[in-house]
Subunit: 243 residues, 4 copies
Amino acid sequence: MAQKLRVTVWNEFRHENKNDLVRSIYPNGIHQAIGEGLGAEVEVAYATLDEPEHGLTEQRLQNTDVLIWWGHTAHHEVQDEIVKRVHNRVLRGMGLIVLHSGHFSKIFKALMGTSCDLKWREADDKERLWVVSPGHPIVEGIGEYIELPKEEMYGEHFDIPQPDELIMVSWFEGGEVFRSACTFHRGQGKIFYFRPGHETYPTYYNEQIRRVIRNGVHWAAPTIRDYPTYGNHKPLEQISAKE
Amino acid sequence: MAQKLRVTVWNEFRHENKNDLVRSIYPNGIHQAIGEGLGAEVEVAYATLDEPEHGLTEQRLQNTDVLIWWGHTAHHEVQDEIVKRVHNRVLRGMGLIVLHSGHFSKIFKALMGTSCDLKWREADDKERLWVVSPGHPIVEGIGEYIELPKEEMYGEHFDIPQPDELIMVSWFEGGEVFRSACTFHRGQGKIFYFRPGHETYPTYYNEQIRRVIRNGVHWAAPTIRDYPTYGNHKPLEQISAKE
Amino acid sequence: MAQKLRVTVWNEFRHENKNDLVRSIYPNGIHQAIGEGLGAEVEVAYATLDEPEHGLTEQRLQNTDVLIWWGHTAHHEVQDEIVKRVHNRVLRGMGLIVLHSGHFSKIFKALMGTSCDLKWREADDKERLWVVSPGHPIVEGIGEYIELPKEEMYGEHFDIPQPDELIMVSWFEGGEVFRSACTFHRGQGKIFYFRPGHETYPTYYNEQIRRVIRNGVHWAAPTIRDYPTYGNHKPLEQISAKE
Amino acid sequence: MAQKLRVTVWNEFRHENKNDLVRSIYPNGIHQAIGEGLGAEVEVAYATLDEPEHGLTEQRLQNTDVLIWWGHTAHHEVQDEIVKRVHNRVLRGMGLIVLHSGHFSKIFKALMGTSCDLKWREADDKERLWVVSPGHPIVEGIGEYIELPKEEMYGEHFDIPQPDELIMVSWFEGGEVFRSACTFHRGQGKIFYFRPGHETYPTYYNEQIRRVIRNGVHWAAPTIRDYPTYGNHKPLEQISAKE
């Protein structure tokens, strides 16, 4: 019997403690709402910023197949050493799903090599996420688009490298577009960036959004094989003597 | 009359001062050999590690359209502040050509988000670089392959993100392959990684290698347009009042 | 002195002869408006459906560096033999710019390998084309977006292979998005698909649209090198006798 | 309980009937050797050229999740109508794995839009397939390279569009390289091209080659969702009246 995929949901967990509106929507924290949406097929653990080592100990990461990341106001408080630890794990195969404002997290910027900047607006825009890669497993069970009645707007230019796969593009009521579902590969790790999920909207209870994240977790699962060897390498064939 | 493209060739310039063999091949430094290969169509400047600010002052970079980078033994001596300055210029449109052992430079690793590690061997392998993107401007004037009688071997896995364009793949006598000519985009900047050029071989005098670098410089030239605006963005269309 | 780039603008040229509105906008045909927008830097020729061999004789194509294609109602009237001839020229390096309803042309479908289908609506939608690849030469001189007050809507899913480079994404007033500026490579040829230009709107007089097409022509220019050799190939190295 | 994936292995099945060497290696046909390598996790059916409709009836294709294709000497005998039927099924989500000389099949050429030509040589070259995408599920369980003691050589330039993912690159003893494991998306369908498997070598009994094909079948499995709607589309938002 196959082992369950082990997912750790990481959340900054600050808005929920400081803001009544956010707490009313996510009383147990955004991480819990995300974790509940993953269903029983996977094994879920949680980690938050204010735990020792941000809850991301070496052991926790060794026992994580896919890490989900939600952060917003405290990116700078995440210690560089922990970022490096997560980075290293991604290169060695751990999947990473970066949600919404996580675009500005240290780990996402380190993996992308760009500013990861964008346009934004909190104005109750309607958002419609259109599928542009209809055969991708991340949109299994999803219709032609997902409509969210109110969300924060994120607009282009989104300063990321060209995604390996562009899966959804958002339309916003106020006139902008955004590459909302993108995948990347770094080392042996798979990375999925998914835009929706501002803290003042109940987006992570939306069944289609949950389905996409669930699909994303399965897509980002590690590929089981040895890490490549690097460095000095003996020849596999004879090299002719040359003068 | 169009202004000439302004190229700065940066070299660590250490091997040439310490090693008789290297000095005999590149008596004025690898940077001079690279710069001479660029021809009269471009305006060439030089910068080296031991100059103040590694020769890469803010002013120098502002006057650089394309930066060529050769480094090997002293990557760690390049100051983080200068790396950040170059990184920022690339995101704002400066072209960057990273040669050979520059794969392990701080700037290349920061732009890639990966370890940039690889296999290597100094054993006088014959190298044959095969063109796999025959319509790319970087291989204008180049035949089906370039053959180098002796070079250092670099072998896969090369830990980089999937290139936006893969242009050449090397065959090595000892049994390995390598993605030797790759392009990437970061922000408004274009990046070209080109493998050949170990310091103990006269590779940068090879006319075909010079042609590829020259083509690369023209390909990597900045696109003239305003840098995108980021941050809070007013709606371009009316957003309906919602309850 | 460098030879001028030779561009042939191909137009179906039917709407202009049958429809008063279209003729009033493009009295000399859409092709003339496109050609005038290319400026004096290039040498422009024209070809239309009802000429012998659709104006695309072997000689005409041999003297064409970049072919621009506008068709809509008569895709099926283009002879398969001519399509094959154009296809062959693209694989051997001729650039191809496919405009608007040319998405359904035989040549574009043959090059893509997909249905090239999409959603559409003629309802005077406002269109806003957002730049998502800010360093690409095709958007040199272009702002963050191009706004067209009225255009036909094209919506996702657009059934094309993932573009090699996605350069612009359109927002439409009626709620859709579209990958509007995409590049592809086939053989030695470069292909640029650009969405705007329904026959009932004066889109090809818009200065920014003209700039994009002009940039596209330069980007799609052939790379000068020999066509690859294919077929049986003698070994370049000795193969060990094996039993 | 999940339904088993339904795989159809298609083989031209001519060499085995005409050539003693090939028959001695694949007495029941190449298709049987490939099918046996897929294991019990999937449901395998077979189809060959000389059956009515080449064994690829509408019903057979409707009951196929992933089609594997091996052909060589009789590509021209495959009826255009059947090619169109397979093409249509791929666009609607059926996975397709094209092996070795299938690079020149009508279906692969139609999906690629290029000549699919290459260099080749039958000279008992040693082949070494190096993994360049170490996190891809297609190389799960595979080491840094697969070595085949003798195979037909295929060399670059391989005239295909840039693959969506390049997974393995071959080194050949005679001095060439080849992009040997490549994925593409067309419509809702996933396509995997895998190079090895000349009829005079026992390649399809090699456990690592079998593992790659098995992984490929799972990767290419259809994504379950409705086919997109195309054509005229009513607005989802109100379009302002304009003058």
